[in-house]
């Protein structure tokens, strides 16, 4: 009896060790899964007893809700809600991860942000994985800019994303460089130089380059010109039926012509946007104009620094276009969909959008916000007290409803980063550059 119990004891210890090892392995596995999944899991279980629900929100880059104090304000109003934001720096890394999480139905936050470049792909291919927000409580369709609302709405009328900010484009320019080149510096007069036509913008560039201060160029990059010019047209890369037509699109051809003319006319500083050299050129005042959506103002201020204070100003662009902006979506597979819908509706309501603009410079996609004093009276001290509220509101109203397609960003990226970059920086001819872009796009689209 004793010996047998002793033996079973030894045997038992080994079993315990094995079980412990297995449990440790399994624990590690589930541990990994849980972390990626939903850190709220544990606390929501506690929530049943303690009355606290954690709503998670996944974003890319800086959305500014936290910085503008919006989460704190919401949690004050709703003591039983806790908000937890996770951010991935770049959308290029955020978006593929979102797709894999949607595919597997796990690892999703309760609210997921989607960039405007991806919203069509999500709306056309993934709509059934999201909650229809058009009829959700607290959401007013009428307060959004119509084209913004249309971008996240499916053909059968389900709206899966609520607009956060938009990027109506103006033109930022350096007064000191304009003055030295013999051009007007007043923002009204500057806007009149090129109003309504990108060709006039090119002509202004030629005038600038004639008397240009040493080592400066009229515009930063050909790609920047292309982006701004193409963003103002209703039809670009797809037909309304969803067929890719970028090769024959008149808007693309015209924007390409303008951008390559700028490159060949030596109006550009031959830079690539968002690269270190671009930042250095800001710091050294190497170019006189750059297309700027509201979110770019903060970037310019940061990179050009204190010594360029009061040198930059903002004027209306030749034609208004949109660059950037996002949506908040609520995936069905989230844990607290009801609370998430409420929070998303609140975050995108006019008052909150106006606050976000005041604190963070993200321009409202809510038309109703434009009349609020935070927007209507907004001036930017760094840019010579430019009335950015009215300036960008006017631009936003002028943007046409764009036909989007699932691969818009891919097509545009290959046009700018392959085709135009070759023309601008490697001296390739416009025709060769276009052929290279088309080859690259066809490969990317798997045609």
């Amino acid at each position: 009896m004793r010996t047998s119990s002793g033996r079973s004891g030894k045997h038992g210890r080994r079993m315990v060790a094995l079980v412990a090892a297995a449990a440790l392995g399994a624990g590690l596995l589930t541990g990994c899964a849980d972390d990626g999944d939903d850190p709220a899991g544990a606390s929501s279980k506690r929530g049943a007893g303690g009355g606290r629900t954690t709503v998670t929100i996944g974003v890319f880059g800086v959305f500014g809700y936290k910085q503008a104090g919006l989460y704190d304000a919401y949690m004050k109003q709703h003591p039983d809600i806790r908000i937890k934001e996770t951010s991935i720096e770049r959308n290029e890394n955020y978006y593929p991860q979102l797709l894999t999480h949607l595919g597997s139905g796990s690892g999703l936050a309760d609210i997921q942000a989607v960039e405007v470049a991806n919203i069509n792909e999500v709306t056309t291919t993934q709509a059934d994985k999201f909650i229809d927000l058009s009829k959700a409580k607290g959401v007013k369709k009428g307060s959004f800019i119509p084209w913004k609302w249309a971008q996240s709405t499916t053909k059968d009328g389900r709206t899966i994303g609520l607009g956060t900010d938009i990027g109506p484009m103006a033109m930022c320019y350096r007064k000191d460089l304009f003055r030295r080149a013999g051009l007007p510096t007043d923002r009204e007069k500057v806007a009149r130089l090129w109003a309504g036509d990108w060709q006039k913008y090119l002509d202004t560039g030629k005038r600038y380059q004639k008397n240009a201060p040493d080592g400066t160029s009229f515009v930063d990059s050909a790609a920047g010109v292309y982006n701004a010019a193409v963003a103002g047209s209703a039809q670009r890369y797809y037909t309304p039926g969803g067929k890719p037509v970028y090769e024959d699109s008149p808007a693309v051809k015209e924007a390409w012509r303008i951008a390559t003319a700028a490159a060949k006319g030596k109006l550009t500083a031959r830079l690539q946007q968002f690269q270190k050299t671009w930042d250095q050129a800001y710091a050294n005042g190497r170019f006189a104009t750059v297309s700027c959506p509201p979110w770019m103002l903060g970037y310019i201020k940061e990179k050009a620094g204190a010594k360029a204070e009061d040198q930059w100003d903002v004027a209306a662009a030749p034609r208004p276009g949109n660059w950037g902006g996002s949506f908040l979506t609520v995936p069905r597979a989230g844990r607290h969909t009801d609370e998430a819908v409420k929070l998303a509706a609140w975050l995108t309501a006019p008052e909150q959008q106006a606050t976000l603009f005041e604190k963070q410079g993200s321009f409202p996609s809510s038309r109703a916000a434009y009349d609020l004093p935070q927007v209507a009276d907004a001036k930017h001290p760094y840019f010579g007290d430019a009335p950015i509220g009215t300036l960008f509101s006017a631009a936003a109203e002028g943007i046409p409803t764009q036909v989007l397609g699932p691969k818009d960003s891919l097509i545009q990226q290959n046009i700018t980063d392959v085709g135009l970059l070759q023309v601008d920086q490697q001296g390739t001819s416009a025709d060769e550059g276009w052929k290279a872009a088309v080859r690259s796009i066809d490969n990317a689209l798997d045609r």
């Binding site: 968002f274 250095q280 990226q413 490697q426 798997d446």
Partner: protein, 318 residues
């Protein structure tokens, strides 16, 4: 009493047999239980993804809908055969691999030889040459991007001082590949030097003494004693460096931080790793990306086989 002991004896015997059988079983199977966790993890995170990637490479599958797979046979592979971008990436991988690996290993050998001398503060130098290896790819690459900047880069500034024109490091084919290679060389030279140094210190010193007695100079000692003794080590570093060069990814990716995976306007420094990433995570074609991944895997197997053949011949010739 006697009847009792007689009855107990066979029971005792049986128990002993059972115990020894258990003991033997324990001895035989326990090691497997101990190594099992590794193999479980390997199956989950190594073998399964490998096989799954192979399976996915035979399908049309997009990242927008990864559960929907459409059988495509060898289409993804045959497509690669006609894919200019793939061949371009393969060529770039090869050229960047050569211009980074060859100078790197030669320099490492030289450095190790110098460090092998008796010198003051040798520990300091040994740690110092390893520091580049300890820095992250991202940090190192960002610094090199600044150094190789077109307008304000230090390299062009120095060239200017010497009376040369600045070079557009990102846009020239050779210039950009050279710039990417310098990052690789900078990071890995010290690492390889330390491996060589370790091997050098295992060379018996009487070999050097007798060589010195025969009147061999330092250089002759290096050529006729050090290098032959280091042959297996050199082969090892060549294998490791070749594998590393084939998988080159972070340096070219961050060399153009804004454009991401295109590897320059003309794809002039797009490596296989970058092309795989572009297909999978930018263009969202998981099937094609998987096919590239498997092609890379097969390429590595091929390279390993070649190395093995060389190693065998070396061993025979000895």
């Amino acid at each position: 009493m006697t009847a009792l002991t007689a009855a107990r004896a066979p029971a005792e015997e049986r128990r002993r047999v059972r115990r020894s059988r258990r003991y033997r079983r324990d001895l035989r199977w326990s090691p497997y239980a101990f190594v099992a966790p590794f193999f479980l993890f390997f199956t989950a995170f190594g073998l399964f993804p490998l096989l799954y990637t192979g399976w996915a490479s035979l399908h049309r599958v997009e990242l927008t809908d990864p559960t929907h797979m459409e059988w495509a046979g060898l289409h993804n592979y045959s497509r690669l055969w006609e894919d200019d971008f793939f061949w371009n990436a393969l060529r770039n991988t090869f050229t960047i691999g050569v211009i980074s690996t060859v100078p790197q290993l030669l320099m490492a050998l030289g450095l190790a030889h110098l460090l092998n001398y008796r010198l003051r503060g040798s520990m300091f130098f040994r740690v110092a040459i390893l520091t580049p290896y300890a820095t992250s790819v991202a940090a190192a690459t960002l610094v090199f991007v600044l150094l190789f900047g077109r307008d304000y880069g230090m390299v062009n500034w120095a060239l200017g001082l010497a009376g040369f024109d600045g070079i557009d490091w990102q846009n020239g084919t050779w210039a950009s590949q050279f710039a990417v290679s310098t990052i690789v060389i900078w990071r890995w030279t010290g690492y390889n030097a330390l491996i060589y140094l370790a091997a050098m210190q295992a060379v018996p010193s009487d070999l050097y003494e007798s060589a010195a007695l025969d009147g061999a100079s330092r250089w002759q000692q290096f050529r006729h004693v050090t290098v032959p003794s280091l042959r297996p080590t050199i082969l090892f570093t060549v294998v490791v460096s070749t594998i590393g060069a084939t998988q080159l990814f972070g340096e070219p990716l961050l060399f153009n931080g804004a454009a991401g995976a295109t590897g320059g306007a003309d794809h002039q420094y797009q490596t296989l790793g970058l092309y795989l990433y572009e297909q999978g995570w930018v263009n969202l074609h998981l099937g094609r990306a998987s096919a590239i991944a498997w092609t890379m895997f097969l390429l590595l197997l091929l390279i390993a086989a070649v190395h093995w053949l060389i190693a065998r011949r070396l061993r025979k010739s000895r």
